[in-house]
């Protein structure tokens, strides 16, 4: 049986876990050349509050803070281990991309879920064999609105 072909993967952002968005936003903006940011998205389904930042070179960051008692990033935020948390790519067909990742030894962290920050588009996370978390977003393009900071 042949392996599924690699789907088109379009870089979207690097995810950074912070203890809270207020101090995380202030610290990152004081350190990195951040030029624009979105509003905060509280996502009860994923258990996180997130905010997207764009730097002067066009690189996008997602600040991720725990939301709720069972947030998947609560222990990461508290311990500081794994705060450089994920690389996210947009894909046209999440199910096909998930099959591709699974066939190459990446392990899903759970089922696909809708993400508020992407207008309800499904997202799914995988841990690669190199222990890198990759978020796949089934979206042709995000509608997040950035304002200068």
């Amino acid at each position: 049986m042949s392996s599924p072909a690699r789907p088109e993967l379009i870089f979207d952002h690097v995810g950074l876990v912070v203890q809270d968005l207020t101090s995380g936003f202030a610290n990152v903006c004081s350190l990195l050349p951040i030029v624009a940011a979105t509003r905060v998205y509280d996502d009860q389904v994923l258990g996180v509050s997130v905010q997207f930042l764009r730097d002067a070179g066009g690189v996008m960051f997602e600040l991720i803070a725990p939301l709720g008692d069972n947030s998947p990033v609560a222990k990461i935020a508290a311990s500081g281990r794994g705060v450089l948390n994920q690389i996210a790519y947009r894909v046209g067909n999440l199910a096909a991309a998930a099959d591709y990742f699974r066939a190459r030894g990446a392990t899903p962290t759970g089922a696909a879920k809708p993400a508020i920050a992407f207008d309800g588009a499904p997202v799914q996370f995988f841990l690669t064999k190199e222990f890198v978390v990759v978020e796949l977003i089934e979206s042709e393009g995000a509608s997040r609105e950035f304002v200068p900071v």
Binding site: K75, R81, G82
Partner: protein, 78 residues
Amino acid sequence: MDKQADIVVRLQTIFREELDLPNLQISSHSTPDDVDGWDSLATIRIVAAVEREFDREFEAAQIESIRSVGDLISMIAV
């Protein structure tokens, strides 16, 4: 050694390696709340190691439902 005891022994080896806790003792009742370093990322590293060790591939929904060592044992023992 019965099947469940064998699974627990093999899981304990995986947990010790993935969490870097060489003296860790686990039981079917162990949860992330009482094992140091067992966070969401560790869960997935452990699942990946379990899949290799037991030559299994779990469904994403199964992985998401893991709350204890007992859940892992149930998934493996099926």
